[in-house]
Symmetry: C2
Subunit: 190 residues, 2 copies
């Protein structure tokens, strides 16, 4: 028997994305978002949603660019901290001992210590309600060699990304492999 939970923003898993932006003086800032995901294959695009009141909103509107920094498990404390404070009040790169690197492709900084970075150019802005959705075209992905497998693909087991659960408000590791996509379903019907 299913129970009605109400109109809530629950989805499992949601990603944990740290958004890197420059302000008008080219000062680097960071923000953690869980409202986001890939939204188009051609052009390759990622959508992120954030409130108008945030410092990052101003920065993206101004610089038309952002990076999406994918943390590994070891940075869970840091990404939580980044979501708790505003870049108007503190330097989050400094607080977390992170190194800001200016992207050579888009007008935004990324976190040197994070294993995987999406460099994005602003393509669309959609005002939905409390949140504004920014759609960025992914211009390049940069990854640490340590998270690449023998075929030079980013391997989840090496990346060790974090997942967030909005219903119970916890962070989780990604667990064991279940199976190969576009393969295991073929067993259902020939």
């Amino acid at each position: 028997m299913k129970k009605s939970i109400g109109a809530k923003t629950y989805l499992c898993p949601t990603p944990v994305l740290v958004i890197g932006t420059f302000n008008t003086e080219r000062k680097a800032n960071l923000m953690t978002v869980a409202w986001g995901g890939i939204c188009c294959t051609k052009p390759p695009c990622v959508a992120i949603s954030l409130r108008k009141a945030t410092y990052t909103y101003e920065n993206i509107t101004d610089r038309k660019a952002f990076t999406v920094n994918i943390p590994s498990e070891e940075y869970t404390r840091e990404i939580d901290y980044i979501g708790l404070v505003s870049g108007r009040d503190t330097d989050k790169f400094e607080d977390c001992n992170f190194t800001a690197v200016a992207s050579d492709i888009v007008d935004a900084p990324y976190i040197a210590e994070f294993p995987m970075i999406l460099e994005c150019k602003l393509l669309h802005t959609l005002e939905i309600g409390l949140h504004t959705q920014f759609i960025g075209e992914i211009m390049d992905i940069k990854a640490d060699e340590s998270v690449l497998d023998e075929k030079e693909r980013i391997a989840t087991e090496l990346l060790k990304p974090i997942s967030f659960s909005p219903s119970d408000r916890n962070y989780f590791k990604i667990g064991e492999k279940i199976g190969r996509a576009f393969i295991i379903g073929k067993e259902i019907k020939q």
Copy 2:
């Protein structure tokens, strides 16, 4: 040293969402998407992206509604199958031995066997490129009692959702809990 991977649609983790829709004759169909995520808190909204060529695109455009069905691990084979075939050629509910239940709130069916369902009313349609993004307002969430904790919240450990990795094309379980969101970051700076 970071390596350039190119402009790809990699994000970890991405969710595995099964979209339920009715066609013009109220025949129920299913489609698996990984391009999606929550995109607004007020109103509570979820975004899903799919290609214009799909049967589900027609159905959403026509009925202005869809459900987002969150699978548990045990249905990995089924959700992969649902992504491999078109509802124009086969009845996916029948193939998977799933029961279609008409939502009492929106004009779309959901999978009785899945533990968590979002019932959505179409709010925005955004043509991005190969993919079209549909933004649905979440009108209600329905969940099996078996995935609720003692506070009546959906518990990830009980839900056992699946995560998809677009870079290595594998499905993964959600692993162990790392820590509490909006709490563990406070250790960084007082």
